[in-house]
Amino acid sequence: MAGPDEEELTKRRARVAPYALLSPGMLWLTLFFLVPLLTLARMSLSTKTSRFDFDPDFTWDFGVYADAISTYSSQLLRSFVYAGTATLLCILIGYPVAYVIAVRGGRFRNLLLGLVVVPFFTSFLIRTIAWSSLLQDEGPIVPLLESVGLMGLLDAIGVAPGGRLLQTHAAVIGGLTYNFLPFMILPIYVSLEKIDLRLLDAAKDLYANGWQAFRKVVLPLSLPGIFAGTLLTFIPAAGDFVNARFLGGPNNSMIGNVVQDRFLVQLDYPSAAALSFVLMVIITIGTLVYARALGTDDLV
């Protein structure tokens, strides 16, 4: 039997153990996630005298953020509109897919779920380039749409201005929707899978029709999945520059394109940092407001 000393020792060990387990990972995240954000904040408030000034001077001039916002307001706005539209499309496409897998998948659930993930085993860039070859004027889609007479309609509603699909708003939004779709499907699936299907029977026994049962039972229970999916789709989409680079034209560039160009091409670290900082602050505030609106405090 454990003596009092030994018991004391076990207790102390239990108190220290979690911190010992946590510290390596937390140290890594602090050093390479939190500290860089602080460095970014400081860099955003610095000014460079020339392109080759590698030691920018720090100032407390918060005007840089206003400058960044006003200079790149169209790219900022475009990023949020594109990401918002793509997220909405992801819900509209992803929810039915997740629903059919979870409710009607039966013994094929795992296989269908696998099919959702399979396309994403190929590289993000290669998929996006494949889209650009699909959407180009010589690709298969444009002539097909023309031959069935849909091109005029798409042109009229502004999806395909001038009979082109590539280098349009629609192409970039379509690419974003495509690339982040699984991040919507999987969390919605997880929340739908947890629902006890007998609840649906119960609703129908109580004379709810299919729509009412969905609206009052399934949808509220799947809100956490939609919430998680929205964050996992909107946030990467808002900061993306690959889709705009391959599928968009000069008038479709997003804030990510500007940051990438400022940072890696112009070596203008302060303004790239200021823009990144603005993007992060807007997204963080948006996330908090969204979490409050849906009443979900717990993100995970």
Binding site: A17, L21, L22, P24, G25, W28, L29, F32, F33, L34, P36, L37, L40, F54, G94, P96, V97, Y99, R104, G114, V116, V118, P119, F120, F121, S123, F124, L125, I126, R127, I129, A130, W131, S133, L134, G139, Y178, D201, D205, N209, G210, L231, L232, I235, P236, D240, F241, V242, F246, G256, V259, F263, L264, Y269, A272, A273, S276, L279, L299, V300
Partner: protein, 273 residues
């Protein structure tokens, strides 16, 4: 039973709704696979110029030596190496965090959770740019190890959250039982804890590996002169898109589908046993 019989019959609208949802789901799957079909089909194309984006004619030439050495295969090898190291480190760090969170009650748990979620709710471009700013600020030359540092950072979060979700429902009293029966801590861990949590850890490790190998944006900011597979494709995409890209992508696809099917078969067998 009687309640069931009293249910109103399905209306036409209800039936239409059900068909509608299935139809959208089918379209969703078509959408998901459209570019994949393009990638595979174009691996058999004999392009006219240096850009393999317009169909000309069928050829098997591209498949004659899929792993022919050159910048693409070098880049792929580098990506595999980085993914292996990053997944290994991130799996260890993330699993330790997950065990601490599920197994113990302690002060600061909320802060830890927040610190895990934040990298996932921060746009990649901000993660990439901030880390690069740190390296520039400290005069660190960006290259192989800065890529690994970046990948471990975001993979650790994914691993910790995945493993945490998978091991939450376990019966941890089994550990106490083993200890009560006189098993020393290390033996308890290796014989009881580890076998319980291994499937979750493996899944998280595979996820890390996949995330690392496909990461472009964060790597782009922190690679220096190193060229991973996605970086190579991005860099080359201005001057050429060789069919070898499609061949390699198809190979990766085949290997991952095979692994996935094996996983499903294996799980079926375990469930049946």
């Amino acid at each position: 039973m009687s309640a069931r019989a009293a249910r109103p019959p399905e209306t036409t609208a209800g039936r239409l709704g059900r068909w509608g949802i299935t139809a959208i789901a089918v379209c969703g799957f078509v959408y998901l696979f459209l570019p994949i079909v393009v990638i595979v089909v174009f691996s058999f194309n004999d392009p006219a110029g240096r850009f393999n984006i317009i169909w000309r004619q069928f050829t098997l030439d591209n498949w004659r030596d899929p792993l022919a050495s050159g910048p693409l295969t070098d880049a792929m090898a580098l990506s595999l190496e980085i993914a292996a190291i990053s997944a290994l480190v991130a799996t260890v760090l993330g699993t330790l965090i997950a065990i601490a969170l599920v197994r113990y009650r302690f002060r600061g748990g909320k802060v830890v959770n927040l610190l895990l979620v934040l990298p996932l709710t921060t746009p990649e471009i901000v993660l990439g740019a901030s880390l690069a700013t740190l390296f520039i600020d400290r005069g660190v030359q960006r290259g192989f190890w800065t890529i690994v540092i970046a990948h471990v950072m975001f993979c650790t979060s994914f691993v910790a959250l995945t493993v945490k979700a998978r091991i939450r429902g376990f019966d941890w009293t089994l550990e106490d039982a083993a200890m009560d029966l006189g098993a020393p801590p290390w033996r308890t861990f290796s014989r009881v804890t580890l076998p319980l949590i291994t499937p979750g850890i493996l899944a998280a490790a595979l996820l890390s590996f996949a995330l690392s190998i496909d990461d472009f944006i964060i790597t782009f900011f922190n690679a220096g002169s190193e060229e991973t597979f996605p970086l190579r494709i991005f860099g080359a995409s201005r001057v050429e898109l060789s069919p070898q890209i499609n061949v390699l992508a198809t190979l990766v696809l085949i290997v991952s589908v095979a692994l996935m099917l094996l996983g499903i078969v294996f799980r079926r067998r375990v469930e049946r046993a």
